[in-house]
Amino acid sequence: MREQLMADLRAMWRIRAFEEKTQALCGSGDVRGSVHLCIGQEAGPVGAAEAFTDGDALFATYRGHGWAIARGVPLEPLFGELLGRASGVNGGRGGSAYLSAPEYGFLGENSIVGAGTPMAVGAALAGRHDGSSRLAAVVFGEGAMNQGAVHEAMNFAAMMALPVLFICENNRWSELTLTRDMVRNPSLTDRPKALGIPAIRIDGNDPATVRETILDFAEAAREDGGPAFVELTTQRLVGHYVGDAQQYRTREELAEDRRQEPIARAAAALAEAGVAAAEIDAVRAAAWAEVEQAAAAALAASPADVSTVREHVYA
């Protein structure tokens, strides 16, 4: 447990530091454009990562940096992408909210709410015919549950018994609106269940719970086929986008969120288990060191290549 939690803390801090550095790079004007951070939501990607193997396909949203990192995409080309560098995973064409790194099974973020869900179904469908039986996973927010495409995708996957993991990160907010005010029945797992999809709501701030659940579901999906739905309860500690003043949130809510957030919880659990404060802090420091180095390298790289800007529209 201790080993695992230390590893999880390490993985979560890599994401956290990446996101905090990104926030700083927004502030300095180096990263331009809309950026959606996953600060506070790191336990999901970290816990889920182990369930994926080569050939699996993961689709995320604009809030997807953490999932890209968890899937193994190196930090420097991620920073490069955010910074609009030629060395970015998409040479600067994707940007923070629409990047992809297919070599790592990261099929991409998506800036259209819900749109990744049918695409993941298609990736699983492909796997049925290419001999891979790949697992496809798609991550989306709880607000996306009200988007028609998500309903269609879930039914399609259920009907075809395709191995698709629907991972719903419930951070309670749809941009500036509380999602619970936008539904009558707050139990979102009732929806996939109604379509015949096994569904569960779990503590999305505990990487161990996430790991166990997703591994189980992934295994089941690979064996029998058939989709599954996992709702991760979590919170974002920052605005919907960088620059969001969050006037819609109370101090109390944010304080409570800070108590729940996964890194503080993991650190506290480790301390309780007798890990020295210095050891815990070293994790943070190591993550930051790696992040700073990656960011510096990305900043030093050449800008996106304007000379090829018209290429790759067509085959």
Binding site: V31, R32, G95, A97, S111, I112, M182, P303, V309, R310
Partner: protein, 329 residues
Amino acid sequence: MPEGTITVNYSGAVNAALWRCLAELPETLLYGEDVAKPGGVHGVTRGLWKEFGDRVFDTPISESAILGSAVGAAMMGRRPIVEIMWADFFLVALDQMVNQAANIRYVSGGRLTAPLVVRTQQGNSLGACAQHSQNLEAFFCHTPGLRVAMPSTPQDAYDIMVSAVHCDDPVVVIDNRTLYFGEKQEIVTDRPPAAIGGSHVRRTGPGATMVTWGAITHRVIEAADRLAANGTPVTVIETPWLNPFDTDAVLESVAKTGGRLAVVHEANTTAGFGAEVVVRAAEAGVLRQPPVRIGVPDTRIPAAPELAAALIPGTERIAAEVAGLVATG
């Protein structure tokens, strides 16, 4: 500040127009994602929920339900004003505009109507991704039954919203978010709602006629000013209404400017509304020189600002292309 005027930026102008419509027309409703309590993701609808209560409300992320319910409410006598946060998001629910709203009056022979307004904004802004950068006015212009406007100034933003809400047709009003927080201007707010349509002559000169709409109008005017400074003044016609489109004003001007026409928009060039404008001039026989179309070449929009800037027409490119046109014949 004289009576009947206010000093506002573009976003304030839209807000004032919505305020006026909600106050004057009890049959109006205003809703969309984040528009009520939070006052809109761009702050445009701030204060309206507090003032007008449950006629202003937030919705789930359900564009088909937003647009479809607006159509249904309009059929029953309301005047819903709804927001699609980015024009790109219309694409998950275009059915309700093209297959539903646009058909209602025609198919029922006028027994049913759908007087709704959809507010949206579009175009590229610094670092925006390909799914948040498109200019889709041509889709709406190709759909008979819909009205379409793309203002670029606080006064037009105000006037067009008021006219749109009073109009008995479904109207799509397309802003550009880069305009929302421009400089404040004094605008007149006490005129009765104008009929929809019309255009503005923004610059005059015999060199050519430039036709444009939306945010890029400002670059076109800059380009025209450069050309004038270089001794070749041109005419700039801004057509904030694309449907109805002020064809007469364009044709007259082209005839007066040596049959030289340039059209500038931020949308992709191929099959953009610019083609329609050029063809109207060609059909009318007023072109004397090959026309110039300036738009985004047919690519997607990359996120890196330098890449996007290489594609989206800038003042320089516009001025250079039009200078070439003026030099012909």
